[in-house]
Amino acid sequence: MSTNELRQGSELDAKANLRALIESTDDPIWSVDLNYRLLVFNNAFQADIQRNYGVRAAVGMRTEELLPPARDTLLRPLYDRALREGAFRTEYPLLDGRILEMAFNLIVEDGETKGISVFGKDITEQQAAEDALCETENKYRHLFNSVSDAVFVMKIDDDGMPGEFIDFNDRACQYLGYSRQELERLRIVDINPPERRPGIRSITRTVIDRRYWTWEGIHLAKDGRRIPVEVHARVVDLDGSPALISSVRDITERREAEVRYRDIFDGAIEGMYRTGMDGKALATNSAFANMLGYDSVQEYLSTVTDTRHQVWLDPDQRTEYLRLLETQGHMRGYEARFKRKDGAVIWVSISARTVRGADGQPHYTDGFVEDITERKMAQTALGESEANLREAQRLARIGSATWDVASDTTTYSEEMYRIIGRSPEFIPPGHAPGRPPERAKFYTPESFARISAAMQRALATGEPYELDLDVVRPDGTVRRTHASGAAVRDDSGRVVKLHGTLQDITEWKEVQARISEKDALLQLAHDAILATDLEGKIAFWNHGATELYGWAAEEALGRNVNELLQPVFPIPRAEILMLVESSGQWEGEVTHRTRTGDAVVVASRWTLYRDAEGGAGKILEISRGITDRKRADEALQQSLSQLRRAQQLAHIGTSTLDVRSDTTIWSEEMYRITGWEPGAPPRTFADRRSLYTPASYALLENAARQAVAAGEPYELDVDIIRPDGVVRQTHASGAAIRDADGNISKIVGTLQDVTEWKAAEARLSEQAALLQHAHDAIIVTDLNGVILFWNRGAEDLYGWAAKKAVGAKVHDLLRTSFPIPLAQIHEVLQDQDQWEGEITHQTQSGTAVVVASRWSLQRGEKGEPTKILEINRDITARKAAEEELKLYRQQLELALKAGHSGSFDRDIKNDVDVWSPELAALYGLAVSEFGGTSASWDCLVLPEDREIARAAVQEALRTGEYRAEWRIRRQNDGEVRWLAAQGKVFYGGDGQPSRLLGVNVDITERKRAEEALRQSQSQLLMAQKLESIGQLAAGIAHEINTPIQYIGDNATFLAEAFRDLLRFLEPHTELADALRNPARADFVTALEQSVPNVDVNYLRAEIPKATEQLLEGVARVARIVRAMKEFSHPGPVEKAPVDINRAIESTILVSKSEWKYVAELTTDLDPELPLVPCVGGEFNQVILNLIVNATHAISDVVRGSNQKGSIRIGTRRDGGWAEVRVSDTGAGIPEGIRARIFTPFFTTKEVGKGTGQGLAMAHSVIVKKHQGTIRFESETGVGTTFVVRLPLQCVGEKP
């Protein structure tokens, strides 16, 4: 073959192959020429054309021949396009619904286009898929963009970091603030803040590992804002490689809300909490923590790990609560009890919801909690009180009915039905007058008449009614009731309704009847019987109580027993009440106070008396006074009767033991004693072991053995144990019985239960000891007075030993003297079983003793008198004291009488004044003449003094006592008398003043004497003054006369001098003439002659001095006169503000002649000293005295020498005082007399030189008159200073 051939051959092969291929495919393939006539086509094409268009394709056919016009128009443009553009692909829908993808190609041969080939590809499914995908994609995209969260899809790079964004939605752009283009260029890293970037890798890793993860992060917006975000990321497989889909939620708002929420949460008043399902507290606010008593949220969270047990009171309740919550999803107002930190329980109301997680399971509960404890308590209380109310109403058994007039209908309450015995279905009849009286059968005829009348009246006049009615029930029983009714009016005043109540008081009536029965019985009892309510209000008080306590029934009823009797209980009253209520009774000893205030010990038995309903009603208190002797008396009685009883109980049981067969037979009594069941007795002795206490068994066994062995009888005390465990004391005896052969065949034993006997014996010896030791003398005699019993107390009191006394006749032994004859006492005993009185006995030594004696008659079994019990208490001492008191009282009365005192006793409350005869006499009345009230006393008091008297009494009422003086007008002679009164208030039990007791004394004489004294004192003062003035007169005269002397002398001199000077002057005037006239030569001689007669120099010198001294003398006189005037001017008698410096100066001047010879006197007077309130004249007197004393003291010292002492007088202000000091340099006051110098009439001067009044008067004036002080400081050999202080009382400043 040639190459061509080869080629051709291959070409042919190729073509064939191609042909084969083309033919084999299902896809249509064809080609057309340039005129679009079919050239080649495959079977598939043919088949399609055939199928779709029903045309058999053939070569050369044109498209319009192949296809319908519609399709043709589709195809042709495609051919055109092929020719124009060359190859291309397009989708082409076939008629049968398939979609082809047609590939158009140009057939080019040798560079020439010859035709168009078309390869069709059925892409119907693919298309569908594509469409579906497109749809999905659209949906997805829609979703993608419409979701409110930002969604990012990104690759995960090989290094495990999130890579490029594959896709993101619009929201992503929005929240970050980037445009789409900008964001496309970014990665996750870029939108994270720097500090978070390092963590991205590990988060990515986590997402990859877990496939899904959620976290919170921060993203950076374009503008730099940090956005808190919540990211949910998922790993997906995208085209074979892992990709991340992240949805990002901007949680800024949520964060803010959380913060706000947290604020709310924390600050809320309501408690809020979040608790995990396991009970773990996840979050709470302060309100919740505080509600539970925790100091802080932290404390709560750290302490409470399990709310089930630590918070919920009942963990089961929590389970229930959770169940409900789960079912309902939420809860409102669920009430539960929570425990606080301190264990206290509170009621809460919870509103909560369960929060579920992504897994649909509840994760935690969120709740609001409110503390409703108080509300609950109130509710409970309310509930209780409501219950009480209902109960009370029920107990009170009050039924009510209302009749409406207009409609003539009646309504009954439930209780009403019950009372009248009808069922609730029964319709109450009307009450209109015209109706037949159906109601008549409710009542007895008489009651009916009364109720009808009452109702008519109520209807007509509105008058309310109340009356007792007998109601007849359907079953015929009659009930006593208490009915009441009232009218209800409308605005116009017409009666529109009648309200009535009916109370069933049948039981009450019966009870009342029984009570009065019982009443009578109770009255007869000797014991004190009271009934009180639970608070103690006395409802019943019998005669015995009156006897014991002294209060009559009228006085006691209604009072509170605790106030009246002032009981002292062995245990608190409240406890007693509890015991009484729980067990029905209580017994014990109580101390009561009688009306007179005496204490009595009573043995008291309390029982609870319940009313018909069983509700607690009253307490019955039965008391018996038991002072020691009574107790002894009773004890004795008791033991005596016990003794009797014991004797009665002397049953004896027997048993027989057959030795050989070791069987025992018991008597009936034996069974009774041992408590074993009748039947076979315990066979062997050993079996009976359980009968005895171990000790007793040993004894008995031994004895029995002995009996068996040697035939010895036995008798001993054994203790047996009964089957019920009770131990009884018994007396056992046994003896052996021998048979004909002399062998012991039987042991016969007896058993006697002596338990009571033993007890009685023990009791008896106890009692005997008691009796012996009682302080009182206890004597028991028979009816003839023979002493049977004589206790220790009797031995002590009377001196007779019991041995001597027992058997003797009591009244002989004691030489009794009775207040009434013994026979009478016996009569009383027979009648009343007891007697008491005071008797006098004589002791063994002959001394008389007075005893308070109580006798009691003892009776035997049949009531016959057997013995007399006498209990005596020595009251000799008391008697003596009483006598002494009486004597004392009498003495007191005498003393009062002697002292001209009278006493009074005023009952303040009742204004009753009781005067003693002496008091009446003071007022010049007889006791009978006195009115007896405070008013009648008041008018006896002098009118001017009535206020004082009344005020005194008021004072007493306020402070408890008074002391006062007032004048009265004596009634018998009209004379005015002074009384000194003293009184004291006594208080009653209520703490209020109840009595005023006092004494009045006639002090008129004293008052007169006082007055006289006062007068003589002032006279004395005056005399003093006069005396001192007199004393000074001479000195003053001297003082004045001296300057007058030289006044006169100077004046005389001046007159003389003047005459001389004139003589001198005359010639000199002529001299002038003479000089002018030389003729007068003789004149010169005359002149010369005159000179010697006139001592001009002398005159020149002396005249001025004379003038000066003359004037000085005049002034001096004036000063002295003024000083004298001031000194001796009496001045006001009352205190007035005085310039004491001036007064002192006057006094100094006035007294100058006294001191100037012996002393230098200097003053240091405070110029700022204010005016001092004082009596000027008297003050001057004091200062004068002090100066005179100082002068005398100094003259004693300087006499004989030509020395002078010194007197210093100073004044100064010291706080509220003016102080004057007069110091001298005398010899000082000797120590021995210092205490006495202020004493009146005390003087150290000789007779005639001073009367010793000076200092006494000074003291009196300064201290008493001026409330000042006068004291001295003295040092022997140095001098004395007197210090006078006067109060300033801030009168005024010295101007």
Binding site: A1034, G1035, A1037, H1038, E1039, I1040, N1041, T1042, P1043, I1044, Q1045, Y1046, I1047, G1048, D1049, N1050, T1052, F1053, L1054, E1056, A1057, D1095, Y1098, E1102, K1105, A1106, Q1109, E1112, G1113, S1153, K1156, Y1157, V1158, S1201, N1202, K1204
Partner: protein, 125 residues
């Protein structure tokens, strides 16, 4: 010339007296001292005819002075010129003094008394 001694504790009185006796300055020789001791001193130094003394003086009273004068200088005529009429003083001085004058004594009376005293003295001697 008669010599007269005046004694008074009050200097102003002595001045007054002195001036009052100015007209008689040529007739009488007068000395004025203020206390008794000085007076006695002067008396011992020279003769005096009359002594006129006050009574109430510190240190040595007029009475005491006159007692001394009587003792030591019996020929001196003694006059008392006193401010006081105290009866006690009067009583005491009566035996000691020839005349008792009371202040205020006018010059006429005084001069008359002294002149009389002088005459007395003359007569006595």
């Amino acid at each position: 010339m008669k010599r007269i001694l005046f004694v008074d504790d009050e200097p102003k009185v002595l001045d007054g007296l002195r001036r009052m006796l100015y007209p008689l300055r040529n007739e009488w020789y007068t000395e004025f001292v203020s206390n008794g001791r000085e007076a006695l001193q002067l008396l011992s130094e020279s003769d005096y005819d009359v002594i006129v003394t006050d009574v109430r003086m510190p240190d040595m009273s007029g009475i005491e002075l006159l007692e001394e004068v009587v003792k030591q200088f019996p020929r001196v005529v003694r006059l008392v010129l006193s401010g006081t009429m105290d009866p006690a003083i009067l009583a005491h001085s009566a035996p000691l003094a020839h005349r008792y004058l009371v202040k205020p004594c006018d010059p006429v009376k005084l001069r008359a008394a002294v002149e009389e005293a002088v005459r007395l003295g003359e007569n006595a001697s």
